[in-house]
């Protein structure tokens, strides 16, 4: 598995090797490929580009876009935009955290679910809203959450 990802990382680096300001582009491509930036890939990039690992992590941690941990199979995005917030999305988030025993920005120990908060999913009329891998669930009530989660858990 590591060997495969390193090979992939090397081809990404090769693609951008001679371009100026290539680090961010490479990190974007790596995240697209793996869903996050694995540490061993970051180390390999460091060696290939001769950029200190410290600098790479400065970039990785500066931009919220980059993820350092493997995201869950199902990415749950809870909308915290104004409309959703007022309509009770903090309660939805709390319910998710209680059911899944995981904090925001982290993945459940079985690797299935990852919770993140987003600012707007573009369907404020359905507030409060959450999305699971892009599928929108709107007009949510606290009690709906457990049903939605169990549907995905069953699929595994």
């Amino acid at each position: 598995m590591e060997a495969v990802s390193l090979e992939r990382a090397e081809s990404i680096v090769a693609k951008w090797k001679n371009k100026k300001g290539n680090l961010i582009m490479i990190l974007h491509d790596v995240q697209d490929a793996f869903g996050y930036i694995p540490e061993h890939v970051a180390r390999r990039i460091s060696r290939l580009l001769d950029i200190p690992l410290a600098r790479i992590y400065e970039v990785l941690t500066f931009y919220h876009y980059f993820k350092l941990n493997q995201p869950g199979k199902y990415k749950i995005a809870v909308c915290m935009g104004t409309a959703c917030y007022l309509k009770g999305s903090p309660e939805i988030l709390e319910e998710l955290k209680t059911i899944l025993h995981v904090e925001e920005g982290a993945t459940t120990s079985d690797g299935l679910f990852y919770i993140e908060c987003v600012r707007c999913l573009g369907c404020c009329g359905l507030a409060p809203v959450m999305a699971v891998n892009g599928t929108i669930y709107g007009n949510l009530k606290k009690g709906d959450v457990v049903d939605i989660i169990s549907r995905y858990s069953k699929e595994g």
């Binding site: 540490e39 970051a42 060696r47 200190p52 690992l53 410290a54 400065e58």
Partner: protein
């Protein structure tokens, strides 16, 4: 030249001068916190704000070049109030641990809080609760005490080129730490301690071993021996109000005896032994072709870690000779113990070093136990010794001078200049010249490799052959030298240098990470001058002329690079894979 006014007084300064520097012309000290004269301004803290006269606009004096016609006001009630608020905000994220903090009374934040008369906490306290990192033997990192000035990052990344520390995250959540969640001990860190000596607060602080040393001194069953490194003698006085560069050798010997040490040795003696070995090693390689050139010095443990981790293809160039600290400890527990009839298992060797890295050298390889025991038991920084002296109320400045214990205590001028950049090379060249030609150098002083230039070069003729040497200090200056060697090697050409000296810290040990706080290039130069003066004053200025060294070889080691010398005084290095 730029003409402007500061507090209505005219100033004329060269273009590019910052408002902060220009203010000195009119005897104004603008308060600073993140600024350090060694480093480019980071403009992180905002304490140094000043105002353009007649406007509301405030500028940061550290990073704003003064311009023609500028009218600067450095102090008015509003500016002082803003500075106070900045300070209060910083303090709202800083623990109130001052009484039990290592930097108590030497903390730049505490000094400002005192100057500004901060008596209340107006903002809600928020402390991050990030755990300490004590993964090295050299220093402890306490992120909660960090004020985000960025000095440690600047020195680690830009000056040292080590890149162990990084500024992670952003805004309120930013923190300084090694990449990828590593502990600093697993990072590229070389424990040079420059971060600790540049930190304005106690966020990075040497591991304090003074309590353990006190216990050993009070233990009636131990025989405590101390050795002092060359450059400690010209720096420790600063902790007692003496000017930098004041030579306090005799007072140090006295105070160490009065602290309870049974024997007082000088690491400069061991430096003379190192030179006998290393200069012989150079002659073997240069004249007799036994081993690759360039020979690279290895007395600086941070430099050893750096080369092993970052440049493993060059490990074979290292001198195999141990550092003076280790040689002194080893000889104490073998030669001295034998001659004096002391059971070496009872001997405790303490070294006083300008350095945090020497603490990790104590257990670097199994060869650091060549006496059958740990050759050096504890290594204290200059700062730690200063604290011990203060604890006992010894009036350091007025102490009488005394002599070291002679067997491992008397040193030559060559041994003592080990403590500054270029000194090891100069000492080695003095002896190597004699070893090769059988004659003594006319002029012993090599001005070209003295001073604070990052990379210094010298070419000397010895017996009709040119010896090309390079001296680098501040690890960020090293790669340019090594890359020239690599390029020549790749082309199959001879190395552009025959002998390379590297010391990790800017200024060499004179600017070591364990030295008294507040170092600048001016102070580094004064400490070096103190050593050069000591050298000039010495009867013997070549390491191999040291009568006690000659006695040591005659009675114990045989000759330089003998089988016994190899067994005891030499070590090996490891090619470590970069992380």
């Amino acid at each position: 030249m730029i003409q402007a006014t500061i507090n209505q007084k005219p100033v004329t300064v060269p273009e590019g001068t910052s408002i902060l520097q220009a203010a000195r012309q009119v005897q104004v000290k603008i308060p600073t916190l993140c600024h350090h004269p060694d480093l480019p301004p980071t403009a992180a803290c905002g304490i140094c704000i000043v105002r353009i006269e007649g406007t509301k606009k405030m500028l940061r004096a550290c990073c704003t070049p003064i311009e023609n016609g500028m009218k600067i006001i450095t102090h008015d009630p509003e500016i002082v109030e803003v500075r106070r608020t900045v300070l209060e905000l910083i303090l709202s994220n800083h623990p109130n641990d001052c009484l039990k903090c290592g930097r108590n009374q030497s903390c730049e934040l505490q000094n400002l809080a005192a100057d500004f008369g901060i008596r209340e906490e107006l903002f809600t306290k928020f402390i991050g609760g990030i755990p300490k990192d004590d993964s090295t033997n050299a220093f402890v990192i306490e992120p909660d005490k960090c004020i985000h000035c960025g000095r440690c990052i600047e020195i680690c990344q830009e000056i040292q080129g080590v890149w162990a520390l990084s500024f992670l995250g952003r805004g309120f959540n930013s923190r300084f730490a090694p990449a990828a969640g590593q502990k600093v001990g697993d990072s590229p860190c070389v424990v040079c301690g420059q971060c600790a000596s540049h930190c304005p607060t106690g966020a990075i602080f040497e591991k304090d071993d003074t309590l353990k040393v006190w216990q050993e001194l009070q233990n009636p069953d131990t025989f405590c021996v101390v050795q002092i490194a060359p450059v400690v003698r010209v720096a420790i006085g600063e902790a007692f109000g003496m000017p930098p560069g004041t030579n306090a050798t005799g007072k140090l010997y006295t105070v160490l005896r009065r602290l309870g040490f049974n024997a007082v040795f000088d690491t400069s003696f061991a430096a003379d032994v190192t030179i006998n070995e290393e200069a012989t090693e150079f002659v073997e390689r240069f004249v007799n072709g036994k081993g690759p050139l360039p020979l690279i010095t290895s007395c600086c443990p941070s430099w050893v870690i750096y080369l092993e981790k970052q440049v493993p293809d060059m490990v074979d160039y290292f001198s195999s000779c141990k550092s003076p600290q280790q040689i002194s400890g080893l000889l104490t527990k073998t030669y001295y113990a034998e001659k004096m009839g002391i059971d070496p298992s009872k001997i405790v060797v303490v070294s006083i070093m300008p350095c945090t890295s020497k603490k990790t050298e104590l257990t670097r390889t199994e060869e650091m136990f060549a006496s059958g025991y740990q050759d050096v038991d504890y290594s204290l920084t200059t700062r730690e010794l200063a604290r011990m002296i203060k604890q006992t109320g010894k009036d350091f400045v007025n102490l009488p001078d005394s002599e070291p214990d002679h067997m491992l205590g008397d040193y030559t001028g060559a041994g003592v200049i080990f403590g500054t950049t270029g000194g090891v090379m100069e000492a080695a060249l003095r002896s190597a010249y004699s070893f090769i030609t059988g004659e003594k150098l006319g002029a012993l002083e090599f001005e070209d490799i003295r001073g604070l230039k990052g990379v210094k070069e010298l070419s000397v003729e010895i017996a009709g052959r040119r010896v090309n040497v390079a001296v680098a200090h501040g690890l960020g200056n090293v790669m340019s030298v090594l890359n020239r060697v690599r390029e020549a090697r790749a082309k199959g050409e001879p190395s552009p240098y025959d002998f390379i000296e590297v010391m990790a810290c800017p200024g060499g040990c004179a600017g070591g990470g364990g030295q008294p706080y507040g170092v600048t290039d001016d102070i580094r130069a004064k400490r070096a001058q103190g050593l050069y003066q000591d050298d000039r004053d010495k009867q013997f200025r070549l390491s191999h002329e040291n009568p006690y060294v000659q006695k040591l070889y005659a009675e114990f080691l045989g000759e330089p690079l003998s089988h016994k010398a190899h067994e005891l005084l030499h070590t090996h290095y490891v090619k470590r894979m970069p992380g």
